[in-house]
Symmetry: C2
Subunit: 236 residues, 2 copies
């Protein structure tokens, strides 16, 4: 029964793809959490570790790409199966970028720590960022859970939650600018914090992209604007 | 002669892929140039047009994806041919993001123009950005030319030119922070300029990514660190 054999081989392949993407997602969530810890303490050694660990995410992405291309070429999947393999290929690339944003936050830790470890001019708005990071990280996990479950409705919920993260970002942006005006000696450090906040907002945008890919893979249609609560997204 | 027919069909397909990517690249370069014009004048109407035009780039990316998947599934290309199709798929995604960065610059024009059209506190460092934009845009064109020509050595040159763009960015970052300290009334506008400069630096990073993909497609090996002049890249 060659057909049955092919179907089973495809299921095994797609299961492996899903496992790799789930693993990448876990590593990306860890990277976000650890980068934020490194920022809050501050802990430059932990930040350095986050930067080094990013290579593991990059390596899995390369594996996903090789496997996805092999599946398309050898198994010739059709319709929903083909859409899922292509989605896996694209989602891996997005998760790799989410890891890059966490790495970039870690990279800024030493530049920001200059002002926070002296105690002289501790930057208070830094305390707003962990909540924003959790919100962004939750979106990543929910988007990848939606992929694992082929759940189009869960994907719609992720897309709709992005508006709250954008509002959070806008509020933090204004808070940081006000802080700069009132504490001009910290401007250089706070400028890096602006980028940290922006990186978290971008992580949310990327989770949204993943959710849109999940929706398309599951349904064969693009998510309609009427399915979304928020306004037209304007990346990055 | 079915084999000959297949080869010719593949060549036609890959030619079409290359044409679409070249077209995307041209649109992305236009978007960068027009966004910078809109910023320098300032011209919010032109900025709005850049934002609207981005949809054309997104549409071509979707076409590239469909065609690339069809080529892999139907023509079953091997070795260098398969690498080129996968590279086209990935490069289209990167060029789409380059378009997003140009769109994001355009989006910031009205926020920055508040300070520049009154003449009261014109932000001088804005004059540094067009040169940086040209440098970034040149990298995009050279990376896509390297793809069109399957030219691994041209790709190496693009990667090596990124260090100069990064230095330019670091210099502009410091200049803008100093300007904020000395002109606290402009902090909100200059914060947006920081992101404009960062977007241009990211465009250079993405051109570098494209060049790395071109190198891999042409040679089958990753670009070695010894081929690069600069230090280990740390995206984003």
């Amino acid at each position: 029964m060659p057909l049955d054999h092919t179907v089973k081989a495809f299921d095994a392949d797609i299961g492996q793809l899903r496992g790799m993407i789930s693993q990448m997602g876990g590593l990306a969530e860890d990277a976000i959490a650890q980068a934020m810890q490194a920022l809050a303490r501050p802990d430059p050694a932990l930040a350095a570790r986050v930067r080094a660990d990013d290579k593991a995410i990059d390596a899995i992405e390369a594996e996903v790409e090789r496997l996805a291309v092999r599946i398309i070429a050898l198994r010739a999947p059709m319709a929903v199966d083909l859409r899922e393999v292509v989605a896996a290929l694209k989602i891996a690339a997005v998760v790799e970028r989410i890891g890059d944003y966490a790495k970039n936050i870690a990279k800024r830790v030493p530049m920001i720590a200059n002002a926070t470890d002296g105690g002289d001019h501790r930057i208070e708005p830094i305390s707003l960022l962990p909540s924003m990071a959790r919100m962004a990280s939750d979106m990543v996990r929910q988007a990848l859970d939606a992929f694992a479950a082929r759940d189009a409705q869960a994907a719609v919920r992720v897309v709709n939650s992005d508006a709250a993260l954008d509002d959070f970002y806008d509020s933090i942006f204004r808070t940081l600018v006000t802080y700069m005006v009132e504490n001009p000696r910290t401007i250089s450090q706070v400028a890096h914090l602006l980028f940290v906040a922006k990186n978290l907002e971008r992580i949310g945008d990327h989770a949204t992209n993943v959710a849109e890919m999940v929706y398309f893979a599951a349904t064969g249609t693009q998510m309609a604007d009427r399915d979304r609560g928020g306004p037209d997204k304007d990346l990055p």
